[in-house]
Symmetry: C2
Subunit: 919 residues, 2 copies
């Protein structure tokens, strides 16, 4: 005969039956059951109980919908054992053992039957209890609860019907909250509830305690097969054959009187991570009362005064649990007439800031290893320290006027704009706006980009608004259901009734999903948080990937170094060309009618470039600096053809209206000049500039331009060497697809470098390398490695070409539809597409290192700062990742995670975490 | 002691010394020496002689510039042996053995010393010969030749100086050609030549025959190291350590009198391949006289009357040589007093038409195998049958007014246009033009495209004009040095003095490099040439690749089938959308404001598509037809944004000038309408449309469009089945990069296909497949093969993405510079880039077939009709290539070549060809 029921106190037997791993135990007993048994074995005061296994559930599913006798008889035995443990009898009016009944699947899962408390109570037992001196108010409080919960979750009567009775009774009694209700009130409510059951469920509330238990058990098992549970499993990929367990536990009562209480409490502060209990409790209350909001709760620190011994015991219990689970705990407890009971514990949810501090503190306390501390903080949590957030006290003081889905983190404050064009117009005028829309469409993207944040009434986590907001890092709250946009009067009505006109301020918290009226103070949490610095320090001990930064200016380089970058992985030289005082020189160079005029313009750029390079080398004293030669197509430095056409039209129309001959002549001159310029721009125009005349292709056609850049690099390096700066320039040639491009250009540039060094009488240790961003370069990496001393993956372009997707067009276009339809698992421009782009990268690494084993290989695309992609780079065996200075800390942590993943798992820590994950 | 000299009659010894392969013999004796020895062994009447080996040349190069004694002494021995063979003495006035001396390297090579005839002649021997009864005219004719040639090629005196004397003498004698000159004249010329040598070379013409021979030998060896020869070797990649041989051969005389003659002759007609001798001869002439043009030559057929026995002997000799070399021969012969001598033979150059006929005839005669016949015709030669050519008789009758480099084949006739804009304007008006320019620049491309053909005065085979012309298949002659373009009077002056005004006709032959005045009749040689058909038939027996055609319309399909296509590899369905009556429907579909209006437009396209598909299926009865669903970005069906902007400007200006209020209102309405349309177009616009919203991406967004296409395909197929047509539609989805794109779309389309078949009550055997044109598709081909029943490489896009090159921009842009600088070996859009794109294709083939071994894989990019690329497709193991109908015959032949390359080489044929390659 199979065993379907285990006492909490019989974990050893359950483990023997389930298997050696804790996951086997969870699978058999469900998460909650396994957890309660575990804490029982730990010697903590858990009310005794037993678990009906998931196997029983599966057995039930096979049958006709009635609980098999075999299971029920084992439950009866367990009830007997329970009676022995607590010294009371189930259904025995003389001693009145009551129990709770809860579901508990191996994985946390909504859609299933929740909790029924106080099972075992009936008219006779209630009477007897009062006869034994129990307060009638206490007894009827228990009784009305069991009828309510049983009626609702077992018999399926709508909750609202019960709640209405309660509400009316409170009104009649003029009670501020439930403490204002008397024994009589509860007796009346109990009777009303029984009537409700009778008329809505078509049956009496069962007076037989065993029938109550049997029906509750059956209801849990049946709920495994409910539509809601099935749908959830299908969506979350949870197999149907797991089943759920049922936990039957002795009731303890926090509502017996002043010496009783019930509460929830975290073992550490969940907001900032400080090592202190945090939570709330209510004296003389039961169950959900603390979270229901019917009574004003007390802060857990008050318990130290109210019940000093209990408080001390709770502190000790928290320590024991943290030692056992090696993580911060979220506990439910009840104090029954001076005795503390632990009802449940699990890993506590916490903010990023708290996560970091707790990880560091627990490691310092010896509770967890440094490796675990590092692994516990998710790279994305570091992001918290970089995004503006609302000032916590200001948020606490503010009233949330709406709550929606927190789809894109960060805090945003601005004036309401009710359409994209308005948002764009105001933003162009320097006004900060929040775009508020029913939903967004591709047409709205210009307004979304202009806004500080987004708020919509429709749409889910993968709606257009959500995707675009995350894409562009805009804080966003979507799907606020009762948000009404009155486009006539240009007013927004919030779910709480607040009306706010367009152009007024609101504050949107994309991290929590809350919306506030007015301007709430924001702050950028400090990256210099000492606990974060400690975690990053530890991460550095474990990671194998170097982390460099993409930085074009000395200021960026300095910041990057502060954030822990060990070099520059990408300096985009052309960014310097876009600056106001330089652009005219660059345009002169591009449009030069003769080679010598072009060379003149090029020479004017030399001192400007040289100066920037000196600043970079100084900021990166002792570290490598990879400088990429000019990359974009030349027409990017010129005005858009459409703008020129429109200007020309305006001029022509003006000329039509000229009043004097000299005015006309002047305007016609302007027309001619504009026309000539336009023709020049038109000639440079390309149908697909991304695949056009750029990168090394420019170098081959205008060798003097890159020759000048190399001269500027080497001159700057020489000047730095003279000042005692340790320079390591690495010169990178972009867009190489064929080795002979690299060979030709390198030949010219090496000659120039040598010439400059000879002129200066100084030798600079430099290297030549190339981007790997054209798929052809990847598949012929063996040949290319013969000419290149280093590779740097330009995964932005490599992704565009490998996938045949123009990023700028697609991210605001078909990629949104693709993600909505789940055609692609991730945005490949966010996370490296492992199967596609990743395969191409692997070919390049293997072929390149086969030819030149010491080849330095890194990545400088935006993926270099994205945790999953960093992990992939580690797997590929790259030497470094390079990302924007702000993402350097994220990359450092991600690199450590990747390296730690390779280590043999540390079994106890893992198991403990998993155990604590039970809810 | 090394042996440096071999008699022609001692080939066995040379072979023993050189090695087993004929290439070793060629390496030792040089091409000409080996060839002469070979023909000697064959028993043909070759004037005896000997070869000083290439090893002697290398030995000479090591020394101080004088001929080592060891070599000279062996030469002296060989002269002795020669004297024995012919019974005359070298330098012996009594018998006068004269010899020629020629260079002969292992590979044909310009830049080296050519020929000196009549070595051994001096005053004393001349005197003695006349004493023995030789005609003085004959003797001085020989003497003036040796002084001339020796002075020129051994002593380095400019040829023109000698020629001037001859020219003046002819004028003085009033002689029409050299036959008009007397013995006295030649004696005078000889003396003048001696004077020239004395004053220009600073030495007397050597009277010692042995000194003549020694100096001539030294001059040949020295010429191996000349600048011209070195440059040529560097450019052609010929190693410097090959060396050249020297061939010393007994002179025979075609200028002894009426019983003597000299001539050149082909064993078959080199123009049309007919099996008849073809060539010219001159009675009583020596050496270069036949080709020098100083005398009017006679056709070889006249020899049958003039010297019937010699003619018969020559016919026999040609047969013997063809049997030996298994190819058509180009022979030089001399008749000395009734005796026929063979001086040289080599494989004859011939037209494409002749190549085809000769290959077929020789195979039919049993001279070569069918395999060899097929291999002998180059695929590009088939191109000849497809390009217009000038009518041969018309060309023969016309005077060439200029000759330049024949850089792009074909015949073109048109009116001269002197600049690109003019060419474009006239061409737009329907006038056929030839663009004549000093050279071309990227600015000229629009004019080049508009022209029938090109003519330039500057530039070489890799000039902009040449590259662009070949790119776009425009006949072109470039680098006509003395071509003068008078841009003032708009007249072209040709090298021969002809002046032709702009707008007058010229004819340009890009195949031969000749230019003619006026319009010459052109003809498209017939693809139905019976010999070509035979070669293609044989090719079909050998090839393993199937050849299909890219055809969008039933007419194309029929032509393709005639040309031997065994199916359609690509039908571009969108081409049908571009037709005049359909474009408005397509535009309505694109700009539809609602989904239902869009669906209406889509449904209007259904019957049109269906009709075309029926035509295709009928034309390809029994064969597969691959139909690709819509591919290009939608905005390709709309007018260009710039054009709309310009129209709008015009409208606005017009509105400014409106004279009445109604007129103004009307114009403003038009402005508004245009503006709205323009905004719609602007919205669809993409920065990089090639990587944009097209192919399967459209299918995912507008599933009803592709659903309609599939409905049209299956409806057409059902209708055909009803009429008894055997249909094999294959439905191809373009631009797939991720398997889930294919999965999603296929699901929708399979459902539609089944629905139509059910409606029609007919089952059609169809397949679903995909293009492999995105690199990601190639690297994840394993996954994709799970959904695709066939692959078709779209190598145009695959090349664009793998190389990161936008073809339309690059081919008229930086790729020209790239080819000029030899950055890329070939144009990758012409010939598949094996190392890059080829590697990606190989990955796709391997991964795809690993998952689905029976996967049908083909290619439908333009490369499918290019011989080298076809060869690569064969190597990759593809099932078929698909190309434009006109290129189907080329692909058939190329496929056969590729298959035959795999076979074990047929040694004798190969060796024979190589031997005959000697010159």
């Amino acid at each position: 005969m199979s065993r379907y029921v285990y006492l909490f106190s019989d974990l050893d037997a359950a483990q023997a039956a389930a298997g050696p791993d804790w996951s086997d135990v969870r699978r058999l007993l469900g998460g909650k059951g396994a957890n309660l048994a575990d804490v029982t074995r730990l010697g903590l005061p858990v009310p005794p109980g037993f678990t009906v296994t998931t196997e029983a559930c599966l057995r039930f599913q096979e049958g006709d919908g009635t609980l098999p006798d075999e299971i029920w008889s084992q439950q009866l035995e367990a009830v007997k054992a329970l009676e022995g443990q607590v010294g009371r009898g189930f259904g025995d009016p003389a001693s009145s053992l009551l129990v709770s009944c809860r579901s508990g699947a191996p994985v946390s899962m909504p859609g299933m039957m929740d909790t029924v408390l106080n099972i075992g109570l009936n008219d006779q037992i209630a009477e007897a209890a009062m006869g034994r001196g129990r307060q009638p108010r206490f007894v009827f409080d228990l009784y009305r609860r069991v009828v309510h919960m049983f009626g609702n979750v077992v018999l399926g009567v709508e909750d609202e019907i019960f709640e209405r009775v309660l509400h009316e009774r409170r009104l009649e009694a003029g009670a501020h909250d439930d403490t204002g209700l008397s024994a009589k009130d509860w007796e009346f409510v109990t009777e009303e509830f029984k009537k409700i059951v009778r008329s809505y469920a078509g049956r009496e509330f069962p007076q037989d305690p065993f029938e109550q238990l049997k029906l509750a058990t059956t209801a849990v098992f049946r709920s495994w097969d409910s539509n809601r549970a099935r749908d959830y499993r299908a969506a979350a990929g949870i197999p149907d054959d797991l089943g759920t367990a049922v936990n039957v536990q002795t009731m303890v009562y926090g509502n017996v009187g002043v010496g009783s209480a019930t509460g929830v409490c975290m073992s550490r502060n969940a907001t900032n991570g400080r090592p202190e209990l945090e939570g709330d409790y209510l004296p003389n209350a039961q169950g959900e009362d603390v979270v229901a909001g019917n009574r004003v709760t007390r802060h857990i620190s008050e318990l130290a005064t109210a019940m000093p011994e209990i408080h001390a015991e709770l502190v000790e219990m928290a320590k024991t649990l943290e030692r056992h689970y090696r993580n911060m705990q979220d506990m439910e407890f009840t104090v029954e007439e001076g005795k503390l009971w632990l009802l449940q514990t699990r890993d506590g949810k916490r903010t990023a800031q708290a996560e970091v501090r707790i990880a560091v503190d627990q490691a310092n306390e010896g509770l967890i290893s440094k490796e675990e501390a590092v692994q516990r903080v998710k790279p994305d949590q570091v992001d918290f320290f970089l995004h503006p957030q609302f000032e916590p006290d200001a948020v606490a003081a503010a009233m949330s006027i709406a709550t929606g889905l927190n789809v894109s983190p960060g805090a945003a404050v601005g004036r309401i704009a009710l359409d994209a064009d308005t948002a764009k117009r105001w933003a162009d005028d320097g006004v900060k706006v929040i775009l508020v829309r029913p939903e967004t469409k591709p047409d709205d993207v210009h307004g979304m980009l202009a806004a500080e944040g987004l708020l919509t009434s429709r749409g889910g986590r993968t709606s257009h608004a959500a995707l675009v907001a995350r894409q562009f890092g805009k804080p966003a709250v979507v799907g606020v259901e009762d948000l009404v946009l009155d486009m006539e009067s240009r007013v927004v009505r919030f779910p709480d009734g607040t009306e706010i006109a367009e152009r007024e301020f609101i504050s949107v918290d994309g991290t929590t999903g809350h919306v506030f009226q007015g301007e709430i103070e924001t702050l950028v949490p400090d990256l210099a948080d000492p606990h974060l610095l400690r975690i990053l320090e530890w991460a550095d001990e474990f990671r194998e990937l170097e982390v460099r930064a993409n930085a074009d200016y000395p200021d960026d380089a300095r910041r990057a170094r502060e954030y822990g970058a060990s070099g520059i992985g990408l300096c985009r030289t052309e960014h310097m060309f876009f600056e106001k005082e330089r652009l005219p020189i660059v345009q002169r160079m591009i449009m030069a009618p003769t080679a010598s005029e072009r060379d003149d313009a090029i020479l004017q750029l030399l001192p400007l470039q040289r100066q920037e390079f000196e600043g970079l080398f100084e900021a990166m004293d002792g570290l490598p600096v990879i400088i990429r030669l000019i990359d974009p197509p030349l027409h990017e430095f010129l005005p858009a053809l459409e703008d020129l056409l429109r200007d020309l039209t305006d001029l022509k129309i003006k000329a039509q209206h000229a009043r004097t001959l000299p005015e006309l002549d002047d305007l016609l001159d302007q027309v001619r000049e504009k026309q000539a310029f336009l023709m020049g721009v038109e000639e440079l125009r390309e149908q697909n500039p991304m695949l056009g005349n750029r990168g090394v292709r420019l170098a081959i056609q205008i060798p003097n331009l890159v020759r000048m850049q190399v001269r500027a690099i080497i001159l700057a390096a020489c000047a730095c060497v003279r000042r005692g700066v340790d320079v390591h320039p690495e010169i990178m040639i972009p867009l190489v697809g064929h080795v002979s491009e690299l060979r030709k250009v390198r030949e010219i540039l090496e000659a120039e470098a040598h010439k400059v060094m000879e002129e200066q009488g100084i030798t600079v240790p430099y290297r030549f390398g190339t981007m790997i961003e054209v798929p052809r370069a990847a598949v012929t990496a063996g040949e290319i490695a013969e000419e290149a001393e280093f590779f740097s993956f330009g995964t932005n372009d490599l992704t565009q070409m490998t996938l045949g997707i123009s990023r700028d067009d697609a991210e605001a276009g078909f990629l949104i539809e693709y993600q909505r339809q789940h055609v692609l698992p991730d945005n490949p421009f966010r996370t490296i597409d492992r199967e596609g782009v990743g395969a191409v990268m692997r070919i390049a690494v293997e072929n390149g290192r086969a030819v030149r084993p010491e080849l330095e290989i890194g990545i400088c695309g935006e993926h270099g700062g994205e945790p999953k992609s960093v992990g992939f780079c580690h797997e590929l065996g790259l030497d470094y990742v390079s990302c924007s200075p702000f993402r350097v800390p994220i990359a450092r942590l991600a690199a450590a995670h990747a390296a730690l993943k390779d280590r043999p798992a540390e079994a106890p820590a893992e198991a403990a975490r998993e155990m604590a994950g039970a809810t």
